[in-house]
């Protein structure tokens, strides 16, 4: 191993260790109310020992009219469970009806915003996920590979809570698709998301997110994902209602496969409901 590589590796390890020390000093909490903004993840992680059950629905386009009950006749669903291994590390799995997709992720918070002495201006969380399409192969006669079913996402979530009521988040993201449909599509898709939360009252908040995909990476007819949501927090539950143009709830869907164009009024209604369960104790 080259000395330079060893040095860089050492710096990375030291930074990771330092981040753990820094975590012991945190006191800016709840930059976002939940671990999801709308479709994508927020910087928040589960508390240690807490399992979060999440059920999400995205319906058809509202513009489909009364015959489709404004989209409610069609729905895609994701059911998932996240678990806090530590206060700063969460793992999760989920299953979406859309393309019968299984997904799993790891999320680690490296920095936590802190005010006062030795302040830290941001919360920084790393997110990495894998998704597996489990649909039957469209053409079983050809040679198919399991790896063709795999999709990977890596994100850095950077957020700052500016006040009790307002938080902002940036999400530089890379989605890797092992197999793409056409030659013009890129396997590695780079994008940058932006999200916010504005607290309307103690229980109600407005949230939104937008993922800008850098040009010339996707096939024609794919659009940037945008969503606006309202969330209400009750005892142990968070309800999120949203309007957006994506119907998938896994990164590879809403970042690279959003096909509804908001400029044409193609909005979908959807919701996330989360419920926390304490599976084990923790240090208070």
């Amino acid at each position: 191993m080259a000395p330079r590589m060893i040095r860089n590796l050492t710096i990375v390890v030291l930074l990771c260790l330092c981040s753990q020390v820094i975590q012991a000093q945190y006191f800016i909490h709840k930059t976002f109310r939940d671990t999801r903004v709308v479709n994508g993840h927020s910087v928040e992680t589960n508390n240690e020992g807490v399992a979060k059950f999440i059920i999400s629905h995205r319906f058809g386009t509202i513009s489909s009219g009364p015959s489709e009950f404004f989209g409610l006749d069609q729905a895609t669903m994701r059911i998932g469970m996240d678990y806090g291994i530590k206060d700063w590390a969460t793992v999760g799995i989920g299953r979406s009806t859309f393309e019968k997709t299984l997904d799993g992720f790891v999320k680690v918070r490296f920095l936590r915003q802190k005010s006062g002495e030795k302040s830290i201006p941001i919360t920084l969380t790393g997110f990495s996920s894998i998704a597996v399409n489990t649909l039957p192969y469209p053409d079983p006669t050809r040679e198919n590979y399991f790896t063709s079913r795999l999709f990977f996402t890596n994100q850095i979530l950077i957020a700052r809570k500016f006040s009790d009521g307002f938080s902002l988040q940036l999400m530089p993201t890379m989605v890797h698709r092992n197999l793409v449909g056409t030659l013009v599509e890129k396997n590695d898709v780079f994008s940058c998301g932006m999200a916010f939360r504005y607290q309307l009252s103690r229980s109600w908040a407005l949230s939104g997110e937008y993922y800008y995909v850098l040009p010339d990476q996707l096939a024609a007819g794919r659009y940037n994902a945008a969503a606006l949501g309202f969330e209400v927090e009750t005892r142990g539950h968070v309800f999120q209602f949203q309007f957006g143009n994506a119907i998938g709830m896994v990164e590879k869907f809403f970042i690279t496969e959003t096909s509804s164009d908001i400029t044409k009024g193609d909005f979908h209604f959807g919701f996330n409901i989360t419920r926390d369960f304490k599976l084990r104790g923790r240090k208070y």
Binding site: H29, D164, G165, S201, R235, G236, K278, G281, R282, K283
Partner: protein
């Protein structure tokens, strides 16, 4: 010297030897400020209860401390299982002295002491000196919970088990855990110097002027062997409250040392009460509500564990928060909501 004289001399010598034996073999116990209250009372004829461990070791005491503060302990084979998923003992109990005068209930003095020493202002009695008490879960706890607390009211061990299973919604303690917790509790027992005796009272305990019962009476006047518990109701008209004028500065202390002990970020409660104006507005709006979000209702009645949501809030008895203090809390909330 005749045989008779020799006999007298021998008897005299024998008497001298006996008398000297008597004096050298009896050590007079001097009670001073470091004397544990339990040993003093025992020397005055009180029976030592079974929860009071005669011998403890530092390792066991440390394990007990961990169980009480962290809910589990670091053992040689690894960390033990949490006693409760939801709480630790110190969620509701302090482990230090909470009042200067230990012979009476004085909510204002308790709050002053909490402010001066930056102590949480909690619903439950402190563990400091709990081994010196003679009754636990007394008064209205017995009236309300009946058979559930009868055994616990007469035994500290039963009280701890009840607390582990019901109050903290956890599990039965194993023998080693109980032993370790008792060892830690012994390490925070009350000593003679803690109960505020005057020099003359201390001297009288060391003299023969008073008999044992009088000495015990002096001690009992300075230390409550039970923690009185009176349950009360929210005011009939929440808008009017209890009719006293609240002092916001006192209410601020109650909010910060009491409410926010549990209702903080990453605290034991999901409901976070921060210092945001929206939070105070929400609390103010709910003062008159007929719900658990009214400070009157939650402080006086608490909530109960339910299926799927075992976390709950125990109420404050009158002795732990007076009506005046509740009005102080209200006045602070109203002030901060402006």
């Amino acid at each position: 010297m005749s045989m008779k004289d020799l006999r007298y001399i021998l008897i005299l010598l024998a008497l001298l030897m006996l008398s000297s034996w008597d004096y050298s073999g009896t050590e007079k116990v001097i009670f001073d400020e470091s004397t544990p209250l339990m040993l003093l009372k025992s020397s005055l004829g009180k029976e030592i209860p079974s929860h009071y461990l005669k011998e403890t070791n530092p390792k066991e005491t440390e394990i007990g401390r961990q169980l009480i503060f962290e809910g589990r302990a670091q053992l040689e084979k690894g960390k033990s299982d949490y006693i409760s998923k939801f709480y630790v003992c110190t969620s509701c109990h302090n482990t230090v002295k909470e009042n200067i005068d230990l012979g009476k209930v004085d909510q204002e003095a308790r709050l002053d002491y909490a402010i001066a020493n930056n102590l949480p202002y909690l619903q439950a009695s402190t563990f400091w000196g709990v081994v010196n008490r003679e009754i636990w879960y007394n008064d209205d706890y017995v009236k309300k919970y009946g058979d559930l607390v009868i055994k616990a009211s007469k035994s500290l061990k039963e009280s701890i088990q009840l607390c582990a299973q019901e109050c903290s919604q956890g599990r039965v303690l194993e023998d080693w855990e109980m032993q370790a917790m008792l060892a830690y509790l012994k390490s925070i027992e009350v000593r003679l110097g803690d109960i505020g005796l005057t020099d003359s009272q201390l001297a009288s305990l060391n003299s023969n002027e008073l008999d044992q019962s009088e000495k015990l009476r002096i001690i009992d006047e300075h230390y409550l062997v039970r923690s009185p518990a009176t349950f009360s109701e929210p005011p009939a008209d929440k808008k009017e409250g209890y009719g006293m004028k609240g002092i916001p500065e006192r209410g601020k202390a109650i909010y910060e040392l009491g409410c926010q002990h549990c209702h903080k970020e990453d605290g034991v409660s999901d409901l976070v009460l921060d210092n945001a104006k929206k939070t105070f507005n929400w609390l103010k709006k709910n003062i008159t509500a007929d719900s658990q979000y009214s400070i009157y209702q939650i402080v006086r009645q608490g909530t109960y564990a339910s299926h799927g949501h075992r976390e709950y809030m125990p109420h404050y008895t009158q002795e732990k928060m007076s009506d005046q203090q509740l009005e102080d809390l209200r006045s602070y909330i109203v002030q901060m909501a402006r």
